[in-house]
Symmetry: C2
Subunit: 397 residues, 2 copies
């Protein structure tokens, strides 16, 4: 059959679509996935940590025992035993989380989209850290908020800095544990203060926690969720403790909000794959993560230390950086006159890659910052790459 109308359509996109931009990181990754490049640009966990054998056994068991159920449509809110497992894992002596408060999502990125959909009108004020997680800025931007960037320091977000912008705001988005991109964590004292401030001002506080389990010392921070389960929206993910490619995350919220998020999810993709949820539950239900996560921590801690050591040796005076106690990232601040975007061009020519810091700022980017990931690079390659980067920076200082 011959096409009847070879003239292409002139598209009239929705206004929100005019603002969409590809993640700068994903663009960089296309360049830097060549094997000759030493890439500190990735945000991927190390595939060496993926429990392939356990996942294979679990998919096999679920399809053998419950194939027809696993492959049929399922409930929008998720597979009940997995929701119960998550609720239990988040409950503390003083604060019980109910399974009904848990909504399974297609990665925690989907939770960001659903939260934006349900809480953000065009022009709504949304408070974010300085800098903040790029994927959250992208997800929320679709709904066209006005971002207010709140101050941070080496102890994370500064609670007092939200007071001037809090009234009328729709939510505060925070990533308190080993933050992407800075690797910093919010101090315990500040958590209580932040929860208190948000509660007094009726401001929903989003606690995004993909890295919390990756504390190198093995001691997790207390969750703000447990300090005020009626006002905190908690997001978790299996991407960093199990595997990311299965796209499985969750959001925990007070019931009035959770019901709206569930309706939004029903319209967005009906539900997250039953088979995946059942297989993950099969893997984790008997304590697997307690044995598995320490192996990830050890790997990342060693590579983080290798990078910190190399930086101390190779980076010139005038450069500073964070010293994370968990997670996947180190944040570097160059002398103010050095533009990390220009440094990236030189670095790629010298076969080293990183992510410039500017895209992580909702407002007024600090162009002299950059993010380094150490999790997918061996200590030897880390030393080699940091030495190259050190020389390039030294030439610019």
């Amino acid at each position: 059959m011959k096409p009847v109308h070879p003239t292409p359509i002139t598209w009239h996109f929705a206004e929100r679509a005019a603002h969409m931009q590809s993640s700068f990181i994903r663009e960089i990754l296309k360049i830097t996935q060549r094997p000759e490049i030493i890439s500190f640009a990735g945000g991927l966990p190390s595939s060496d940590t993926f429990p392939v054998a356990e996942m294979k056994a679990a998919f096999d068991k679920v399809l053998t025992d419950s194939g027809k159920v696993a492959l049929q449509y399922g409930p929008t809110d998720g597979f009940p035993p997995l929701r119960a497992w998550i609720a239990d894992s988040l409950s503390t002596a003083g604060c019980t989380i109910a399974p009904e408060q848990v909504l399974m999502t297609s990665g925690s990125q989907q939770a960001l989209d659903l939260i934006g959909k349900v809480l953000i009108d065009e022009g709504s004020r949304v408070l974010v850290e300085t800098p903040s997680y790029l994927g959250a800025l992208q997800a929320f931007s679709v709904y066209r908020p006005v971002f207010a960037s709140v101050a941070t320091d080496e102890h994370g977000l500064v609670p007092a800095s939200i007071e001037p912008v809090i009234d009328g705001a729709r939510m505060l988005y925070a990533l308190p544990n080993f933050q992407n991109p800075t690797g910093r964590s919010l101090s315990v004292e500040r958590r209580a203060e932040l929860v208190d401030t948000c509660a007094r001002h009726n401001l929903p506080l989003i606690e995004d926690d993909p890295y919390g389990a990756l504390s190198y010392k093995g001691e997790p921070f207390p969750k703000m969720l447990n300090m005020n389960p009626g006002g905190v929206i908690y997001m978790g993910s299996f991407s960093k403790v199990l595997t990311p490619g299965i796209r499985l995350g969750y959001v925990v919220a007070p019931l009035p909000l959770l019901r709206r998020l569930e309706l939004a999810k029903q319209a967005a993709d009906l539900h997250t794959a039953q088979l995946t949820q059942m297989a993950v539950h099969e893997v984790i239900k008997d304590g697997f993560l307690e044995r598995h996560i320490p192996t990830i921590r050890t790997l990342y801690a060693n590579q983080c230390q290798a990078m910190l050591d190399a930086m101390a040796q190779c980076f010139p005076a005038g450069v500073s950086w964070t010293r994370p106690e968990g997670g996947m990232f180190i944040w570097v601040t160059l002398p103010p006159h050095i533009d990390a975007m220009q440094l990236l061009d030189q670095a790629i020519a010298a076969r080293v890659a990183f992510v410039p810091g500017a895209p992580f700022y909702a407002n007024q980017p600090a162009t002299n910052t950059l993010r380094l990931s150490f999790v997918t690079v061996s200590p030897a390659r880390i030393r080699e790459g940091i030495a190259i980067l050190g020389k390039l920076i030294a030439a610019l200082v």
Copy 2:
């Protein structure tokens, strides 16, 4: 740790969230999944058709051969060999579809959400069939369009009826093959006319095609995509020909639109599970669907015929219904004074369920309509259920 603020938050939802409603069908399904109910309400495919053994073998092979890749983050647009397979399956002698035009989605429901996100501003006019697919109305409603319902008859959508509402409209959404909810198909002549009308008016035409392969005679209708690949957005799904619980669908669009849909997907959930895409590709790459789909067609055709025969025998004069040649649904029109919602209450009391037709209308619902699905019910139970329904209707005529 004791929660510091037991006072729950007062929520301020986005305006779009105030309009969200739970799918009436999913609410009915909660009631009608009790085993004693003969349910014609479902929209689920029959799990007897799921190729559990083939899926199990495929997951096993993918995890054995490529576990670390399958479990890692993947590209937003999808697994390249699967995109190529889909493009090839949609290409005809006169019209080649490129793999770059294919975006993998988390079920075709997600394609509806992404299309709405990219093409609908608040107040945009969106043309839909009368009645239309409820899941599409739900997905688009999030973006707050104004729906214009265009006329349909026994040959599907009436192309001339779009002319009065076409100027300034953002898109036309059509489900031309064995439509949900009516089971009707758009005639071949009308397809060409519809494509021509939309092209002349620069109106994007969405061709949603989850059921096209389920033609009982085995002869698929020509796709509007192949009549004008520059103006038609095609949606497909593995839910009805393989299994729905894995949540795997796709959208095929001209490149300028596809790039926007890809950006929207990146913000919505990064990508659809690699493992699932690789396993499905493993199952279908060597012609499995050509052997498998005829077994689904035969099952559904037999059950459809059992229902049509039972209706002819048991339904009183004054009731009319469609005679589908494929798909999963029969549409019933009762005498105008009978409200299908009230009939449903009586039917559930008599242990039979169906879906009232009203929620499928974007405007001016016909309250005397209902949808029957025959795919998950045996012929004996179909006869039993239709006999009960016939008596209830006869008492109301």
